[in-house]
Assembly symmetry: C2
Homo-oligomer: 393 residues x 2
């Protein structure tokens, strides 16, 4: 066959690949009751299940192809939901229904990047973020901030760290808050720093709001697009799979600056088209989930975090939102070895190096990936391995 | 906001856009009973409807996220289906479940192209094909062949035409057969020419098999991947939406050369991820449609073609497969004006210029986009406008 121009490794082999590898380690361990805390998921019931429907329920029939940007009724519902947090009206035309937050981010990156443009990726970062930037022709510049913010708080110069990475080729800042993998949440004051920087250097802001439904603080989730004039330069990616516990439905949405929306729809059209109508209807049903039920889920996630925090004997990040804590294994040794050792005892963790070049001595734990009792059992095993020390293996 | 690096026009504004424009013309005409023959569709009943299901029916639950390449059961079923036409066993790993044929083509193009690589797009071509090539960083080189083959048959030097367009930057040949918009079908002898050329110049073959279910000839659909050693260099895109009349379900699949499959999955992962599980299940159900029923649908499409052919008083291409004929308006004048005039009388046609730089005096008619009686009425109006001549308007 002809040669392939790009090796997969160029995109970042980490993209989802470590999950399969840890699955394999777990299978190889022979532990019948392994606990897959390496996967980002919840054990919550889905808020809606796919089903057929009548046309009058949704404006289109199940068989009909939706416009590339999504079924109008669903775009309107999403727009209404984000209008408040973004600080003003959002037009349905600004909202694209996408194949999950991944697809949303992919479209935003394709829309704003030329080949070789740099994206400041605040790190540790969701592994796929780096691959998405590269797949869109961009160059990843990791900017370590979340561990530093967690450790030093206001003692950390966020503005200096991010601005120090800006070059003439920088086009955008990507960040995920509440953060995967650290659980760190950027508050309005930190977000305002990013807005100021973006305005000063004329950058796009690409906000990965996947965990906006899991902000554990009293203030609740702050949307960067609602700060000052940020909405005109902010693409926000949202995940119904995460918020409504429907990962198999693969629906998310992208909120675009008004003047960039048509371009984003164009990129959606030219890279694969729209989302199955049946999946859009299931998301539409999920949107009717009562606020109290969503709050209850958030509180269950927070309770899972408290349980993990109070039982873990491994140093780990302080969590204010999301589904993860990041284990600090610097005193133990290599994070990869720790992950392998845990897998031998039937506990799945995600190796830290996938989350940033400086994260080799860390590992991610998802505290919602199993029922509380199972998470507690897994943490007991993790503590045991950590207590044994690195040298014994 | 910061500037957007690429105008949508660079991708080819034609991408789906003419459909909305003709819709608007039809609405503006005030004809209550307009016939939308500009859309590529059938009026057939869907072979399956989305519904919930039990896990044991499909190996995964509707809520569960499928692997990026698709649910294993569905990949196996697709692989089994294409094995025969491709001339040998196809491994499930070679098959990716995609968001329609569009997404399949997008992935194949991203996998094989570097920025600036040229793709020979045999034309007239599906409008979105050009946009997909550009969105993948490629450069479109149109190679007019289908009208020439239709007019001159073996008098036309296919090898010379295609080979004359090869440059050192050429990486792939894209073609769609049965062809949208001409209805021309490349037989095995013509396909063998393309294989020979691809081998001689070490090119990829990107076969758009969207209309493989609508081959009206006695031989049936010939898959280029089944010719000689072509399978090692052929990506084939298939559309369940077209074959099973389920456009709203947006499922298709991409068959890859064995050694390119992992790369294709990587691109799928880094550009949006997988297809909703519920949509994959609906496609799986549709695959159980009896052969006789699919043959009946093909025969209905062929009957629609015979009706159009026998009633059209406008010169048009001879159809051996697919859902379209291309109207030759060179004697009448400008194709765009003809389309506008037809819209005034409530008939939607697709303007020819979207299908190739040399097709401005043509227009596409989809003979399956309305029930036969409605198509016949629409053709009466088309004949009337053609008979009036261009000068009167």
């Amino acid at each position: 066959m002809p040669s392939l121009p790009r090796a997969l490794g160029e995109l970042g082999g980490s993209c989802g690949e470590y999950g399969d590898r840890v699955d394999e380690l777990l299978r190889g361990s022979g532990c019948g009751d392994s606990v897959p805390l390496h996967r980002g998921r919840t054990v919550f019931e889905p808020c809606a299940r796919p089903r057929g429907w009548r046309e009058r329920e949704f404006g289109v029939s199940p068989e009909e192809e939706a416009p590339v940007g999504g079924v109008p009724e669903l775009r309107e519902a999403f727009a209404e939901g984000v209008g408040g947090p973004r600080g003003g009206d959002v037009l349905p035309e600004q909202v694209l229904v996408t194949g999950g937050a991944t697809h949303a981010l992919s479209i935003a990156l394709r829309a704003v990047l030329r080949d070789g443009d740099e994206v400041l990726v605040l790190s540790p970062h969701w592994p796929d973020a780096a691959a998405l930037v590269r797949a869109a022709g961009g160059v990843v510049r990791e900017v370590p901030v979340f561990l530093e913010l967690g450790a030093a708080g206001f003692g950390f110069d966020l503005m200096g760290a991010v601005e120090g990475a800006v070059t003439p080729r920088t086009r955008a800042i990507y960040f995920n808050s509440p953060n995967n993998p650290t659980g760190y949440r950027l508050d309005r004051r930190r977000l305002a720093v990013l807005v100021e920087l973006a305005e000063r250097h004329d950058l796009w802001l690409i906000a990965d709001n996947t965990y906006d439904g899991y902000d554990f603080t009293r203030e609740g989730f702050p949307d960067i697009a609602g700060i000052g004039a940020a909405a005109e330069r902010t693409f926000s990616a949202h995940s119904c799979g995460t918020t409504y516990a429907m990962p198999g439905n693969r629906v998310g949405y992208l909120v675009c600056p008004p003047e960039a929306a048509a371009t984003a729809v164009g990129w959606a059209r030219c890279t694969g088209g729209g989302v199955p109508t049946v999946a859009q209807f299931a998301a539409y049903e999920a949107l009717r989930t009562p606020r109290a039920e969503l709050d209850r889920r958030r509180d269950r996630a927070a309770a899972a975090w408290w349980l993990a925090d109070s039982t873990l004997q491994v140093p780990h990040t302080e969590v204010s939102g999301g589904l993860y804590t990041f284990l600090d294994l610097r005193a133990w040794g290599d994070g990869e070895r720790f992950v392998r050792r845990c897998a031998q005892l039937g506990v799945g963790l995600a190796p830290g190096r996938n989350f940033g070049a400086h994260c080799g001595s860390w590992a991610r734990l998802c505290f919602t990936a199993a029922p509380p009792q199972r998470v507690a059992e897994a943490i007991e095993r993790i503590n045991k391995i950590y207590g044994e020390g690195a040298d014994e293996h």
